[in-house]
Amino acid sequence: MKKGKTIKRLLSYVTKKYKCQLAIVLISIIISALVSVVGVQFIKYLIDNIITPMLDSPTKDFTPLVHLLVIMAIIYLIGVICTYLYNRLMINISQGVLNEIRQEMFVHMQKLSISYFDAKGHGTIMSTYTNDVDTLRQMLSQSIPQVFSATVSMTAVFIAMLYTNVYLTFVVLAMVILMLFVSKYLGGNSSKYFVKQQEDIGKLNGYIEEMMEGQKVVKVFNYEEENKIAFDRLNNTLCESMTKANMFANILMPCIMNIGNIGYVLVAVIGGILSVNHILTIGAIAAFLQYVKSFTNPLGQVSQQMNSMVMALAGAERIFELIDEPEEKDEGYVTLVNVKEENGKLIETEKRTGLWAWRHEHKDGTLTYKKLCGEVEFVHVEFGYVPNKIILHDISLEAKEGEKVSFVGATGAGKTTITNLINRFYDINKGKIRYDGINIEKIKKADLRRSLGMVLQDTSLFTGTIKENIRYGKLDATDEEIVAAAKLANAHDFIESLPKGYDTIVSGNGAGLSQGQRQLLSIARAALNNPPVLILDEATSSIDTRTEKIVQEGMDKLMHGRTVFVIAHRLSTIKNSDLIMVLDHGRIIERGNHEELMKLKQTYYGLYTGAIEID
């Protein structure tokens, strides 16, 4: 059963780290439940064994009473301490487990491939971290202790019942079976709707996230009213499933309790008949009736907790689904290391030498080092995001060490896709990509990406200071290095003009900065990263051309002797490239440097002079 597996897996988080604490919790719950059971017996004992004898004896000796009360006080105190203990320890356990699960989810999410993020709505992912984890908290901190405690007292009472009278116990048992049927029906319905409710929340969450993110577009298009209608639809669906789920849940408790009441009457009637026939003593029946009450009460409590358990399990399933999502495959074993050159030989070193090499461990156990040059070679590469739809056809190209290679072409020709293949955001269908002669599938993904700097068209910043955002490129960078990178990206001046300079807080959605300024920051980030190979994907599209020119010169200087891939619409940006590829519908239709392509007088020439269109 899927549910059983989920529960087991969930409990494994608890037992893994908190065995000791859990044991104490369970013992404390047992003690605390037993103390309240003892409490019921205490009064009977008080009346029968202390007060009644006292009434009969002339001395009125209060010492036994004092003794009993002192003993009870101690027992009660133990109960209170145990209650506190399990409440307190349960916090450690539940919060600790939640903390661990969240961390595991996030760590795992970092290992997923880009296509996962393409396919999943952002809001849905976020909902897993909040709503679903939250239901787990309810279950761990409340439902489980309560259910356990109820089970303990029910067992104790059940034993007492059996001890008192077997036949009457069967009557009670019959009632319990009826209760189980009812709760199965109602609980089944309610859990169905609770699961639906969580799904609906996820959907609504996704919608809200998307619309809040695009709220400015909503304003510009006067789309508020339509938005409200779409929102209302989702909101009403949620309200419906919520009402139904809660309704069944709310009805459950009165049902259980009143079946219990009816059972009470049955026991009383049958017991009465038995006692008239002298099969049972009156006191035994009275006690038994008391037991019936203490048996159904915890049962009601358990039924209350069923829903939050069901909800939590549905949430847990989604959480485990994320955790079980297959990781981005990485069979690479070639790693990137710093080396120093001695007598023409490469020697691995810990220091940052500015010289990198591929550490290649061969199957026969030999170890070779190959200097990182930044040569990239595509051999008949074919690729499509979905299996049947090929986007890139038979791409072959060669970028030599230190070359500046540019891609030109209409929007949608596949330029960005090519760069996404170099760093293995996506894996190719056919052909081969070699990096310094090594098949990139053999290179460890992290090392491959570390060797490739990337500035993307969509500038993603993180909430934090400007300094922190630039430092993203090199985590141990000094302030001086950051300023130098900002200067190179020509971002220094505008940063300085902000009231708080480099310590200005920017938000992830970029309020406060212009698009061009955000691009300058991401260029500074890449400059600080100082990678052996750089990919610029429309990195300067929102920057004015004067600034761009300065940035360009700076980058050219920085990347001198290293390989650079450039995608740009402004042909002035790429004119000085060593190799220009013109792409059309996923094929390379022209290649060469500026002069060669101009002489060819075909597509590139047309684009450059504005005479032809390839779209």
Binding site: G39, K44, L46, I50, M54, L55, L69, A73, Y76, G79, V80, N87, Q103, F106, Q110, K111, I114, A119, G123, T130, D134, E209, E213, K216, V217, F221, N222, N227, K228, C239, M242, T243, N246, M247, N250, N258, G272, I285, A410, T411, F425, R449, T463, F494, L498, P499, G508, G512, S522, N529, E538, S542, T545, T547, H569, S572, M598, L607, G610, D615
Partner: protein
């Protein structure tokens, strides 16, 4: 706060009132039932009177059925009322955000708005359901129990009268102490959400820089913050049940002591003592319930505050009364306009300073200027996305503040620089411009924006489904879809804020060509980095540090404006050279 929240019960008022009504009936039955039960034992069993047992038993079963009925009804109404209340709260927030201005939007992060509309509302909803059910049931049970205790022995009742306020004080103290802690928890939750959201959005950057470990560290910090604060808050709450148990156990011991003395002194019966104790348990049970409600309310208070924060935020841009519903023409005028972004960091920094500008209806205006020269700020004042700090912005001869916002924004169509496409088909995205647009109209707009051809190349054409944010089309395609969307509005003024940056030069030229021929009477404002995008405009505005540096035609500026000349030369040199060859 409660009053304000209560206004959102609205159409569920009936359910919200019926719930406690049926709860009261249910409680009456529940009090009656133990009474009947006691009768069965005391009279029926001890008197061995089977017919009496059956008689009272029938009553009892009737009472149980009634109780079941009332319980079901109260449960049903409670579910309806609370789910409805939550629905209304979410709706109120979402609707309110729709009224926000850009300034308001900048104040809340996306992730925080999402948590407020989901997690926080759920917290308030649960508390609300507790309030209308348990908060009625608990005290009522307690009052009944106390009344019974009073009839048995006023002296013993005194114990409860001391204990209950004492416990109440403790519970309130715990609640007050926990509240600020819970507030912190929710702030940390926001931060955690933000890390996840930004990570998901920037996943390409994360992967490209191989910063997974760094992100994990960042998340760990946020995660541990939640953990620490939540633990601190719950630690305080953990005193709830033990405090309650302690009180009730003390009461029981006191009752036993005093009761025993009373019995020995012949002023009480033994049976009464055990009844007293069972009422003590009933009081305990109702107190337990109350304390649970208490915890819920504490948590919900922080949530409720956050919800009200969204609802009570005053939109900084509002419609005037008797606002103008029609924009006469596409003329624009800026009169001594200053603009300062109203946020903490940017205060006292003029984004725009003393802008004076007159644009005739139907003119094409190019705007060019360095990064951060406030080009976007300038055009955002026209559809009143932000409000000018000083001076006046006029559209169609009237101050933009005099227009109905809808009418103004219908007339002024803007393609934002950071534009967003939504998950759904291309056609659905386009219809944002005009809801009831026919397929022909969509096609026409897309032809104008040079998007028709590539859309038709997709297998599902206009029905192609876009991912959230339009990640499955290229940057240039996205921009052209956005332009087509804006064109569908048939605006009087069209503003393109650097909206063709990812479109190639040729296509860009075709778009402008189409504009000239097909929508000549629309005023067009084009912000661009590429000089070719603005060169053929009627007039070009050169912005520099929030001020107008020069206005004129291409030729005029080339002659007299140094910035313009430099930009021109840096971009056009290559082309001219090649033409010479």
């Amino acid at each position: 706060m409660i009053k304000k929240l209560a206004t959102f019960i609205k159409e569920y008022k009936k359910d919200a009132i019926l719930t406690p009504f049926f709860v009261v009936l249910e409680v009456i039955m529940e009090v009656l039932i133990p009474f009947l039960m006691a009768k069965i034992i005391d009279v029926g069993i001890y008197g061995s009177d089977v017919s009496y047992i059956i008689k009272i038993g029938t009553f009892l079963i009737l009472a149980a059925i009634m109780s079941l009925l009332f319980g079901m009804l109260s449960g049903r109404y409670a579910a309806k009322a609370s789910a409805g209340f939550a629905k209304n709260l979410r709706q109120a927030m979402f609707y309110k955000v729709q009224d926000y201005s850009f300034e308001n939007i900048n104040k809340f992060s996306t992730s925080s708005l999402v948590t407020r509309m989901t997690t926080d509302v759920t917290n308030v909803q649960m508390a609300f359901q507790m309030v209308i059910r348990t908060l009625v049931r608990g005290p009522l049970m307690m009052v009944f129990a106390l009344l019974m205790v009073l009839t048995i022995s006023p002296k013993l009742a005194l114990i409860f009268l001391i204990a209950i306020p004492f416990l109440g004080a403790i519970l309130i103290y715990i609640a007050l102490k926990a509240h600020p802690n819970f507030e912190r928890v929710f702030k940390k939750y926001d931060a955690l959400n933000r890390v996840v959201q930004e990570n998901v959005q920037a996943i390409r950057v994360v992967k490209a820089y191989v910063r997974e470990d760094y992100e994990e560290e960042k998340f760990k910090k946020a995660n541990d913050d939640v953990y620490k604060n939540f633990k601190a808050a719950e630690k305080i709450i953990a005193f709830n049940s033990p405090a309650m148990q302690l009180t009730i156990y003390t009461c029981i011991l006191c009752i036993s002591w005093i009761g025993s003395n009373l019995i020995v002194g012949n002023s009480m019966q033994t049976g009464e003592l055990s009844t007293m104790i069972s009422y003590a348990w009933q009081i305990l049970a109702s107190l337990m319930m109350l304390s649970m409600v208490f915890v819920m309310i504490i948590m919900a208070t922080s949530s409720a505050e956050r919800i009200l924060e969204v609802i009570e935020e005053t939109p900084s841009i509002k419609n005037k009364k008797n606002a103008l519903k029609e924009v006469k023409n596409g003329s624009i005028e800026f009169k001594h306009v200053d603009f300062v972004y109203n946020d903490e960091q940017e205060k006292n920094k003029y984004a725009l300073k003393d802008i004076n500008l007159k644009i005739k209806s139907g003119e094409t205006i190019g705007i060019i200027g360095g990064t951060g020269s406030s080009k976007s700020s300038l055009v955002q004042l026209i559809p009143r996305l932000y409000e000018a700090t000083h001076g006046e912005v006029l559209v169609g001869g009237k101050n933009v503040k005099d227009y109905d916002l809808h009418a103004l924004r219908d007339a002024v169509s803007m393609v934002l620089q950071k534009n967003v496409l939504f998950s759904g088909t291309i056609a659905e995205n386009l219809r944002w411009g005009k809801k009831d647009a026919t397929d022909e109209e969509l096609e026409e707009a897309c032809k104008l924006a040079q998007a028709d051809a590539f859309i038709k190349e997709f297998p599902s054409k206009y029905e192609t489904v876009l991912d959230q944010g339009g990640t499955n089309v290229s940057g240039g395609q996205k921009q052209r879809i956005c332009i087509a969307r804006a064109l569908l509005k048939k605006p009087k003024i069209l503003i393109l804020d650097d909206s063709t940056s990812a479109v190639d030069t040729k296509t860009d030229a075709l778009i402008r060509d189409a504009f000239r021929q097909k929508i000549p009477h629309t005023t067009k404002l084009i912000i661009a980095q590429r000089i070719t995008s603005v060169m053929d405009a009627d007039r070009i505005i050169v912005l520099q540090n929030g001020q107008i540096n020069g206005v004129g035609t291409h030729e005029e500026l080339l002659k007299k404006n140094q910035i313009y000349r430099e930009v021109y030369e840096s971009q056009m040199k290559g082309v001219e050279e090649s033409e010479k060859r």
